[in-house]
């Protein structure tokens, strides 16, 4: 563990227990300004609903303890601000700080969704401009900014499709989904009331067009495609695929998770896509924040516009913008209020910073992925050899010979100062290593990553045990996930939860 690892090294790192373990009655952090009205009697006001005692076990700590507690915790995390996340399909790009600043402005963060529309014109202009930008980027006719995440966008898209088919007299029964798809696709189809029919990829990992021709019957409502595929490969025959579907009255849904390979280069609307979602927390730089929030706008062709979820932004005769809450054919509301507005603000700030030059980001993303692919070919097995776009998928076939699998390699990568790539996915590549660097990585960071991966490949061949027992340098070693699932401990309880050495 010496100079062959260039990106990371050791440094003392603070321990910290649970906030409940530091609590002591009488300690307080935030103090409220004094009350300027008479104190009400809660027993009188609330009667039997009055909770007499304070909440048991609730933290009681001072402000400095709160700052130290969470600061210490934060230092245990990896983050984009520290280095590359080569996570395929996640597009972990830089989260610009100006986005955080503008989202917090007085007059933006402070606005109530039910305030008078004439006092919300600034917010509406933000929504409107974002809508227009997303339409330009996707080549679609209409868009909704309501869905809170990609999965909710997928559901919205499928509900639009269902509403369309219902209007034409028959909702249809099935949705076709490639076996390479992200798990949210089949999960969502079921919630939308459709049966899932899996379509096996052909030998290059693409949609099997001949098979598709057979599978598209009048029972099929739509095909859900990801383009580029989850292998990072462009579905060249997508226009043909669209035609096959349209000929049978079915629609083409595109999972837009991989838009980082297409923005400014081509437009899904031009390729025959009828409806798609975007992941603003992927392609459009809004921060992941440890798991969310995101936003999943859905862009669609004219035929689906009447079914858009409410509320819908419209321009009145006097030029004023307004939100309409009622539309006769709308699928209804998918979320309360106005989508994840704060996330939408951040995405717009990102788009404005780039302007028409956003194509450069896409080009750099594809450049980085191909640069990495070139330097890792040979060290790792490449199951599909078609050109990669913004991500590349290797497999652990070469390392498996020594009993080292993709999970082990991923864990060893941690010792080299990186977050692992995506291991569990796509399902069609057993032992997958899905790598997406994004455009935010410098050549230096890419080279460090390549060196690390080549070194690990070498270790897998010469000292496999080192890889199999990784990581070695983290605060905690591999955690017992089996125990966690067998006997779940999902909350702190007084006295009960001390197992092992408390940190």
């Amino acid at each position: 563990m010496t100079d062959k690892i260039k990106k990371a090294s050791h440094h003392p790192n603070q321990n910290e227990g649970l906030i409940f373990e530091k609590s002591s009655p009488g300690k307080r952090a935030f103090e409220l300004p004094p009350l300027d009205v008479p104190l009400a009697d809660p027993s009188k006001a609330l009667g039997a609903s009055h909770r007499h005692k304070g909440i048991e076990g609730f933290p009681e700590v001072s402000e400095i303890e709160v700052i130290r507690h969470f600061t210490r915790l934060s230092t245990w995390n990896y983050a984009i601000d520290l280095g590359m996340y080569p996570l395929g399909s996640c597009t972990m790009k830089y989260n610009p700080r100006v986005n955080e600043f503008v989202a917090r402005l007085d007059g933006i963060a402070t606005e109530h969704p039910y305030q008078p529309q004439e006092l919300s014109q600034g917010c509406f202009k933000i929504l409107r401009l974002l809508e227009q930008c997303l339409l330009e980027i996707t080549g679609m006719d209409s868009v909704t900014l309501q869905p809170a995440a990609g999965a909710q966008g997928e559901l919205t898209g499928l509900l639009l499709i269902r509403a369309y088919h219902e209007k034409n007299g028959n909702p249809r029964k099935k949705v076709l989904i490639p076996d390479s798809a992200h798990g949210t696709n089949p999960a969502t189809a079921v919630i939308a009331g459709y049966e899932v029919e899996n379509i096996k990829s052909e030998s290059h990992g693409q949609i099997d067009v001949a098979k598709l021709r057979d599978l598209v019957t009048p029972d099929v409502a739509a095909l859900m495609i990801t383009n580029p595929s989850t292998l990072g490969i462009f579905e060249e025959r997508i226009p043909e695929i669209a035609e096959i579907l349209h000929a049978k009255g079915a629609l083409l849904y595109m999972d837009g998770a991989n838009m980082n390979a297409l923005t400014g280069i081509t437009r899904p609307g031009d390729l025959g896509v009828d409806v798609m979602h975007l992941n603003l927390h992927k392609t459009f730089s809004t921060p992941h924040g440890g798991g969310g929030p995101g936003a999943g706008p859905v862009a669609m062709k004219k035929i689906l516009e009447p079914f858009r979820p409410v509320p819908i932004l419209v321009e009145k005769e006097n030029g004023r913008l307004a939100l309409e809450q009622v539309r006769p054919d709308s699928i209804g509301r998918v979320k309360a209020f106005n989508g994840n507005f704060g996330v939408l603000v951040r995405a717009l700030a990102y788009i404005l910073a780039y302007g028409p030059g956003v194509r450069q980001a896409t080009e750099d993303a594809v450049l980085n992925a191909n640069y990495i692919r070139k330097h890792l070919e040979g060290a790792f097995d490449l199951p599909y050899s078609l050109p990669s776009m913004h991500e590349v998928v290797f497999s652990d076939a070469l390392q498996k010979k020594n009993g080292v699998n993709t999970m082990d390699i991923a864990k060893r990568l941690i010792d080299y100062g990186f977050h692992p790539y995506t291991t569990a996915f796509p399902l069609i590549v057993p032992g997958a290593l899905m790598i997406e660097p994004t455009e935010s990585e410098s050549r230096e960071e890419c080279d460090l990553f390549i060196d690390a991966m080549r070194s690990i490949a070498n270790e897998a061949a010469t000292t496999p045990e080192l890889v199999k027992t990784a990581p070695h340098t983290t605060r905690v070693r591999r955690l017992d996930e089996v125990g966690a699932a067998r006997k779940p401990i999902l909350r702190w309880k007084p006295q009960a939860s001390r197992t092992g050495a408390a940190d």
């Binding site: 569990a424 089996v482 699932a485 067998r486």
Partner: protein, 133 residues
């Protein structure tokens, strides 16, 4: 681990142990090995009817869920309550203490169609060959 001689086996890696008209059912050592550490089992209630070839429950590891297929049709007369607290029995003793359910066979002749020990051992040998090919 040895595969008991008097058991019968399915292609989906379940075993059956028939005593009279009651059959005990479980998953084989091969299956538990593929699955990894079992964390949870979902079994039908006593009185439920299961149908040959259809799923009757699931076995879960941390990262995967496996459907369990009924080797034969019948009515559930007992479910292994121990597995609630100690699902690991499926890993340590898949052919014994790791049994899942016992059913009263609706059609005992169905058992004849299942593989015997020799056939099952040959079957899993061919599966392993394919996997490493």
């Amino acid at each position: 681990m040895a595969y008991p001689a008097n058991y019968r086996y399915t292609k989906e890696h379940e075993w059956v142990d028939v005593k009279g008209d009651v059959a005990a059912i479980g998953i084989t050592d091969y299956a538990q090995h593929e699955l990894g550490d079992v964390v949870f089992v979902e079994l039908p209630k006593v009185g439920a009817k299961i149908e040959a070839g259809k799923t009757f429950g699931t076995v879960e590891s941390v990262k995967a869920v496996s459907d369990i297929y009924a080797p034969a049709s019948g009515e559930v007369v007992e479910a292994n309550g121990d597995l609630q607290n100690t699902p690991e029995k499926i890993n340590s003793d898949p052919h014994g203490a790791g049994w899942l359910i016992k059913i009263r066979l609706a059609n005992p002749a169905e058992i004849k169609a299942l593989m015997d020990t020799a056939a099952y051992e040959a079957y899993i040998a061919s599966q392993s060959k394919e996997a490493s090919a």
